[in-house]
């Protein structure tokens, strides 16, 4: 099997290398790629969409249809992980076979087997994952104070996508990563209290619906799909500013969708669909 793999790899590599002989030299300003279509994006981006970051204007406006399907790809990955891993509550064994509690003050841990119902004064005890990770004061406290600022940075990245590198995807992933950090530093149950499964499962369709809905709104207002000029009728500023606002609304939708999906995939992967003990 290894020799077959090697032969295929060498063959494909030779074919690819054979083609690079005719490539334009790297970084040459007169190469067809940088003289045919992209000069218009660079020169007209400010004129037509009032967005300095050309990548964001091409991403959300000139080729906005691509990005809508890209957000749908992320959304379908989230639904796929839910469909594959989630164990419906009705089918799970009634009582978890083994639970662990730790006494807050003394740090002693109790393992209760056989799922017996035990009445513990819960304010003194806290439930701990079965594969027990040592309680680490530093990690918990640092993450507790760090997460709000990560989320603030994530919102900044979404909002500032027009002027600086960033935008819906990067901001959404950072927001999702903050919830994942909460779940990794503390435990999954605390993260579920902050963002339940239903919220993250509704965030992703609502986010992508904001994107497709804006496009459909432009359709209803008489223009082509995803033609943000139509929003000039609803939003202040001329058609150019309407495009800039349209791009911003779409970026917010993408941010919501990506955040909801990343958290949703993580919860299903980390807890094998049972949503009780995770990474």
């Amino acid at each position: 099997m290894k020799i077959l793999g090697l032969i295929i790899v060498v063959l494909v590599g030779a074919v690819l290398e054979y083609a690079t002989i005719d490539f334009p030299p790297l970084g040459d300003p007169a190469s067809p790629a940088s003289t045919h279509v992209s000069p218009r994006y660079i020169e007209k981006s400010i004129e037509e969409t009032a967005v300095p970051n050309v990548v964001t204007s091409v991403l959300a406006d000139y080729r906005g249809f691509d990005t809508m399907f890209e957000t749908t790809v992320i959304f379908s990955a989230g639904v796929a992980c839910f469909l594959l891993l989630r164990v419906p509550p009705s089918r799970r064994p009634q009582r978890a076979s083994e639970r662990q509690y730790r006494h807050r003050l003394t740090g002693l841990t109790f393992r209760i087997k056989g799922g017996a119902e035990v009445s513990l004064p819960l304010h003194e005890f806290e439930r701990v994952d079965s594969i027990w990770t040592p309680y680490d004061f530093i990690i918990e406290k640092v993450c507790r104070y760090l997460i709000p600022f990560i989320q603030l940075f994530g919102l900044y990245v979404i909002a500032h996508g027009h002027h600086s590198p960033g935008g819906g995807f990067q901001g959404g992933v950072i927001l999702g990563a903050s919830i994942i950090l909460l779940s990794v530093s503390h435990n999954l149950r605390i993260a579920l209290k902050r963002m339940g499964e239903r919220t993250s499962a509704l965030f992703s369709p609502v986010g992508v619906f904001i994107y497709a809905g804006t496009g459909a709104l432009c359709l209803i207002l008489g223009y082509n799909f995803l033609d943000y000029q139509a929003l000039a009728a609803l939003l202040p500023g001329g058609p150019i500013m309407a495009r800039s606002h349209g791009i911003f609304i779409v970026e917010v939708g993408v941010g919501m969708a990506v955040m909801g999906t990343m958290v949703w995939i993580f919860k299903n992967l980390a807890s094998l669909g049972r949503y009780d003990e995770g990474l």
């Binding site: 690819l16 067809p32 790629a33 249809f65 379908s76 639904v79 992703s204 369709p205 992508v208 359709l219």
Partner: protein, 503 residues
């Protein structure tokens, strides 16, 4: 309103999939009706598009209001209008048959299942109608990811088969993306017609040849063309029956369409058949595909797995037909995309209802099916006749054009392969009819049908539920109807799709 048809075609199912996913959490009973309206809506829009195309109204749609080389645009012509109707039709009919199995096996996750189902059909519809090479890659990925997840739902070896499908599918999609990148580095544009215009002076260069080879390998890998078909049999056999009767008829046919679109629109026919002298070799590859597919189908003990090898052989028909390079070969190939989608749907729906009633699909376990499940077997007979190529059904006409093309092209190897595979199909299906009709149900064979002690009395009818029989018989009658309307389809639609330069 009809000016927005190309956009509506994809947006109705896309928006519906978001509502279905939200309804899965808020109003679970609304999921199936929403999915039905989505599929019905896209079916009506695609029929409207076909009517526009026949009336000669070209449908061009600029997304975001930007002109083509800068923005993305949809172009509906004679070739893809037909395929659109087939995809949304198969998606709509199969949704009816999916309901009993989904309600039985995944009651809580029906919302998620229908979301992925509708997104799969949206991905295919978008792939067929798009005019932008990179947009086709994004939609290819949507159809692929939803396909991987739906296939992995099955029992037994389904997750492993789906994982192998992911590896092969990702390599195929990345090769296609690399091919688009090679064209982009040399021409600078992503729009199909723009690339074709800019490629004209470059036909001799190495980059275009390698781009062509990589794209073809990527597309062949995704369609399961013989040497690259290793993932197809396991993936379609172990998938749950509503999924295999959705993916098997559509995925391979749409990839054949993508191959035809790439060769016709981007590389232009005179480059593919004139400059490159590949078409002889590809037809011989197709001959090997047909022969190997048929032989492997003969060797199978499992009924559903046998059908998957017939799909591999059918892919050989379409690829070989197109690469013959003459008008009847092209007509046969495009007509076969339509007919084969219907035939494969009919066979997989019949297999689905047999598995639904019997629980297993080994050929030995199909005893006495004609007495216990007469309706399903009736539809299976119609489907088998169409695969073999018996006149009233549509399978005969596309095979007829392929044979005509083989004779005109002077390619007798392809002709022999077509006849050989038809004979093998006869053996395959009559073996099943023989087991189904003549061998009585042994009393000991409990299964779903409660056989009586003295076997000679006909066992009670344990037919598949009505929800699966109606779509099955709609497809079977559709096979015969499409057979009668072949003259219409070829005359009014496919004839205009043939490029002028094809001799």
């Amino acid at each position: 309103m009809s000016a927005h048809y190309p956009a509506l075609l994809v947006i109705i199912p896309l928006l519906a999939s978001f509502f279905i996913s939200a309804a899965g959490w808020l109003r679970p009973p609304w999921c199936f009706p929403l999915a039905l309206t989505a599929m019905g809506g896209s079916l009506l829009v695609s029929i409207g598009l076909l009517a526009d195309v026949i009336r000669g109204i070209p449908d061009l749609y600029w997304f975001g209001g930007w002109a083509p080389p800068w923005g993305i645009y949809y172009r509906v012509d004679h070739l893809n209008a037909l395929v659109l109707v087939v995809i949304s039709g198969v998606g709509f009919v199969n949704l009816w048959a999916a309901r009993p199995t989904v309600d039985r096996e995944l009651p809580e996750k029906a919302g998620a299942f229908y979301t992925l189902y509708v997104l799969f059909v949206t991905g295919l519809l978008g792939m067929v109608v798009t005019g932008d090479a990179f947009n086709l890659y994004v939609l290819l990925e949507i159809a692929a990811i939803t396909g991987y997840a739906l296939i992995a739902l099955g029992k037994g070896r389904a997750p492993l088969a789906s994982l192998n499908y992911i590896f092969m599918g990702t390599i195929g999609a990345c090769f296609y993306l690399l091919g688009v990148g090679y064209l982009y580095i040399v021409t600078g544009s992503l729009n199909m017609q723009d690339i074709a215009r800019l490629l004209a002076p470059l036909h001799g260069s190495r980059v275009v040849t390698v781009a062509f080879v990589i794209m073809m390998v990527g597309v062949w890998l995704k369609m399961g063309f013989f040497p690259l078909h290793a993932w197809l049999p396991n993936a379609y056999t172990y998938a749950p029956s509503p999924v295999s009767s959705l993916v098997a008829p559509l995925m391979t046919k749409v990839m054949v369409y993508v191959m035809i679109r790439m060769v016709m629109t981007v590389f232009t026919v005179d480059y593919a058949f004139g400059v490159l002298v590949l078409n002889e070799a590809v037809v011989w590859l197709a001959v090997i595909a047909i022969v190997a597919g048929s032989l492997m189908a003969l060797a199978e003990k499992d009924f559903k797995r046998m059908l998957t090898f017939i799909v591999v052989a059918e892919v050989g028909y379409m690829v070989g037909g197109f690469w013959l390079g003459n008008r009847s070969g092209f007509t046969g190939s495009v007509l076969h995309i339509v007919n084969d989608a219907l035939m494969t749907l009919c066979l997989f729906l019949a297999a689905g209802s047999i598995i639904h009633a019997r629980g297993e699909s080994r050929i030995q376990s199909l005893q006495g099916l004609f007495s216990t499940m007469p309706w399903t077997m009736g539809a299976l007979v119609v489907g088998a006749m169409s695969i073999i190529g018996v006149p009233p059904t549509c399978g005969f006409f596309s095979k007829w054009y392929l044979l005509l093309g083989a004779v005109e092209g002077g390619h007798y190897g392809f002709l022999a392969a077509l006849l050989f595979s038809s004979l093998v199909n006869v053996v395959l299906f009559f073996r099943i009819f023989e087991i189904g009709y003549f061998e009585p149900m042994e009393a000991s064979h409990g299964g779903a049908s409660h056989g009586h002690a003295h076997g000679h009395e006909a066992p009670a009818m344990s037919e598949a539920p009505l929800g699966m029989l109606v779509p099955l018989w709609m497809t079977a009658l559709g096979l015969i109807a499409v057979g009668f309307y072949t003259g219409e389809i070829v005359g009014r639609v496919i004839r205009h799709a043939i490029p002028a330069t094809m001799f």
